[in-house]
Subunit: 309 residues, 2 copies
């Protein structure tokens, strides 16, 4: 099975309003509730692709219970979330119906206690036994030390399980130094990590910091991968229009599926770009259009570049 | 006991953010969860004043369960809410920390089924036996017919229980025609009902539509009451500064407390204005400052006006 970790899960609410006006009162015309957090998004995509998938991390309180109910109802992901005394945070995405523009409000989430973190590490270590790959995704909740991902990367490496890290800021900086197999930063995360804006330079710099491979997201232009086997660019056939929510998480799912299938890098990148574009095209945020995915698989363009990452 | 009805209860969330900017992402710095809906606010104030208070209406789903937990935890209000299959709505008040300005997002609430409405009427009728007064408060949830408050007013009158109606729009128009003992509109609700903006004229017009007494809110300037015993204005000693959330509900609680104590109108209005001002002065939205209330009781100014309403 593939294991995904979401330490800062969220109950994601999407509110549609005609247009958000500060300091006014709004009737919400549509409410959508979804289990949120990057690792849960990755897990749902993998499960929809037919992979046996397990999700761990934290959930607590009434919001956590709702999140777990929704996860069970809408996916085949096995729920191995660890309970917290504090309630799972909510995120609210307020979408203006006319323009599609989104205003985001993110609750901070519960403070995880030392005992809860210890319980999680125990569960994580047990789940590594049987995992073919593990993805560590998203931000750290309050109470968890900034080197937490570095700790989890080391546990995965000790267990011999390939580990992908998708986070930002100091947790990424520390995590990368623990030598994960793969990191997947976007342009902002990469620039923050390396100080470099030029994608090739920044991607290679990120690799030198300890990751075996770096797959950088170039947004609508696709992915740039620096790996021990070579450097590739992968691009969708044309710019796709739609809602980019969850596109990065779908790319992570594509990379993991290729990893566990032991497919060559160009194929992994093709899957990642196709899934990402099929997610942008889906009318439901964070879901992917399965027909578009199959079709895009044949049309993603992968180009080898000079150098070895 | 005093019975309050909240057909459209809500789990009220207050989010503090530095400043709300449309189409940006915000970290919420503080989250407060409270049981919401006008009738529940009235009930909490009455319970805090020492009155035996029962709350009915609807609650459902995970949000409804949280609302009921919070009500039990923070008040002595007896919970006689009727379950719905659909989940209780949330309201989100986004408060800009610097200015205190609030942006409101209100979910529509679950559609109440015919069977749920029938179950509520049965519960309501049973609770009227033993009620000394009943308050019908707030908007109607989806699925409930616009004459619902008129129906409840008639049930209360048949049971001989004095009934206060605090709603707006067509439900107020229909409800007032069923001859409630008291309505408490604000200036906008009054203007919408009567077409008149001048408070004396609009208040008298509202009385002629069927209410035994009309107490109109003049915002920070206090209340104007048109009753069979006379017409009064009641004003706080000075304009109070603070958060007006819940001030109108506290005024309703003051009027009900005076009604069940059979106190004369000037005393009822004094209580209503003092509680309303003490609510504005409280640092916590919807709570009242008990010390300020006691002090304000001696300083509210009530003036008899000519005429009999």
């Amino acid at each position: 099975m593939i294991l995904t970790v979401t330490l800062n899960t969220a109950l994601d609410l999407t509110y549609r309003v005609p247009a958000l006006t500060p300091h006014a009162s709004h009737r919400v015309t549509q409410v959508i509730e979804r289990p949120g957090g990057k690792g849960l998004n990755v897990a749902r995509v993998l499960a929809a692709l037919g992979y046996e998938t397990v999700a761990t991390g934290f959930a607590g309180g009434a919001t956590g219970a709702t999140l777990r109910d929704l996860l069970a109802e809408h996916s085949t992901v096995r729920d191995e979330l660890v309970g917290t005394a504090g309630p799972t945070r909510r995120t609210v995405a307020v979408v203006d119906t006319a323009s599609g523009d989104t205003t985001q409000l993110n609750e901070p989430g519960p403070t995880v206690t030392a005992a809860e973190w210890a319980a999680f590490r125990t569960r994580f270590t047990a789940l590594l036994d049987g995992a073919r790959a593990v993805a560590l995704c998203g931000s750290l909740p309050p109470g968890i030390h900034v080197g937490a991902y570095a700790e989890l990367v080391r546990l995965a490496r000790t267990a011999g399980v390939p580990v992908l890290l998708d986070t930002s800021g100091e947790p990424l900086r520390r995590g990368i130094a623990a030598r994960p197999d793969l990191v997947k930063p976007n342009a902002d995360e990469l620039a923050q990590l390396t100080g470099a804006r030029e994608p090739h330079r920044a991607t290679r710099d990120a690799r030198r910091r300890g990751a075996r491979a770096v797959v950088s997201s170039l947004g609508p232009e696709g992915l740039l991968a620096a790996t021990p086997e070579g450097v590739w660019r992968a691009a969708p056939p044309a710019a796709v229009r739609g809602n980019p929510t969850g596109a990065g998480d779908s790319a992570v799912a594509g990379l993991l599926s290729g990893l566990v299938d032991d497919s060559p890098w160009p194929d992994r990148l093709t899957r990642a770009v196709a899934l990402s574009a099929a997610t942008v095209l889906s009318p439901v945020a964070g879901e992917f259009d399965a027909t578009a995915y199959e079709e895009l698989l044949t049309r993603v363009k992968v180009t080898a570049e000079s150098g070895t990452g």
